[in-house]
Symmetry: C2
Subunit: 224 residues, 2 copies
């Protein structure tokens, strides 16, 4: 009775769920979904039409919504604790998780994935160069914010490794697949990312390939 994760390989939210499952040692099966085609069978699992969707067993209900799934996994598989030991850490880890899942997604990873890949898969015209430029501009602020946190703390959310690191790593890994992260800009951010990238949970993400969209040479390189 292996859980199934309905996913798209370059969706940062799906990547985040894969990382959380792997860090918790929960085995799972990946079920690719062409969610942008809004397949009817998939809309029955999740009326919002978004990935990831998790089915814990064949008979279980389909569970969805990224942050609801993170909380679910934290409660169902409490070890290792990925949100934090005390109230102040937990609100900070959740704030940062929301920062990446919502804000970084809207300002960076969402537009880049749409323009660089989904538009082609949907045969929806050519990429909007201005949207790509804006996202590449926005990413600088986020990279500096990550660097600012990484300089002051051992991990992004505090002393302990947490889902804030997994969220930042998952959401950065998608622009990184496109070569859109200006790593030279911030050494603290780059060092933190190389620590994240070296974790066993990250390895499968670095092996994902989407036909027609090869990643740059440094993408899977742990000493980039």
């Amino acid at each position: 009775m292996t859980p199934s994760l309905f996913h798209f390989a370059l969706s940062p939210a799906c990547r985040l769920l894969r990382l959380v499952l792997a860090e918790k040692g929960v085995g799972f099966r990946l079920e690719p979904v062409r969610f942008w085609e809004r397949p009817e069978a998939f809309l029955r699992l999740n009326p919002a039409g978004t990935v990831p969707v998790l089915k814990i067993s064949e008979q279980a209900a389909a569970l969805s919504e990224t942050r609801a799934l993170i909380e679910y996994l934290e409660e169902a598989f409490p070890e290792p604790n990925l949100i934090g030991p005390d109230a102040e850490t937990r609100v900070e880890v959740r704030r940062l998780t929301g920062w990446f899942v919502d804000k970084f997604e809207q300002e960076v990873s969402g537009p880049l994935l749409r323009e660089r890949v989904l538009r082609g898969l949907m045969r929806d015209g050519s990429p909007d160069a201005a949207a790509i430029r804006a996202a590449r501009w926005n990413i600088q602020v986020h990279l500096d914010y990550i660097g600012h946190l990484a300089m002051r703390r051992r991990w992004l959310g505090g002393d302990r490794f947490s889902v804030a690191d997994l969220a930042a790593g998952a959401y950065l890994s998608v622009p990184d697949y496109f070569g859109d992260v200006p790593w030279d800009r911030n050494a603290h951010a780059r060092d933190w990312y190389s620590r994240i990238k070296s974790r066993p949970s990250f390895r499968p993400l670095l092996q994902d390939r989407i036909g027609g969209y090869p990643p740059p040479a440094h993408y899977a390189d742990l000493d980039f």
Copy 2:
């Protein structure tokens, strides 16, 4: 040592936090913030520049990010339980909370608040009629979804009243302030909303007024 909530009266996220605090019986002081002016003192409390921000005491750190705050309050003040008693309910309540905080906000309440009020407060041109039209079109689907849930369940998240109801109520209350909710469209949704609106926690929201933007006559009417 009363907690302070930095807020804007017509921000649905702030309204949601006020409802959660009130339902849990936690007294608090409201501190209005003109967040759209990005005041420096406020950016020090929350680098994202968004409301709500919660300070539990004068000395405590400023806590932010809507869903992180909800989880924080649920852990700090467990009674009454607003997320649910079991794993399946909890993931469903969190999914619906995310539906309103993220999806409804992007498709309905965000554009309406921006076009109808913030643009005027920021002296940023005249309202974009197409954006208002799109939001008023989108709200129909959300109203039908609420009606669909309200017909099948006692409350939106299941048998028990939960933060899913508070989220839907808070996020609907803003378009309702503008007269943008087509209540005649769905009797189940309207009946559910009149139950929410009658709760003591909702009363202060119905008394909020923003200068220059009076609500329609039915706004504070419990038998609308």
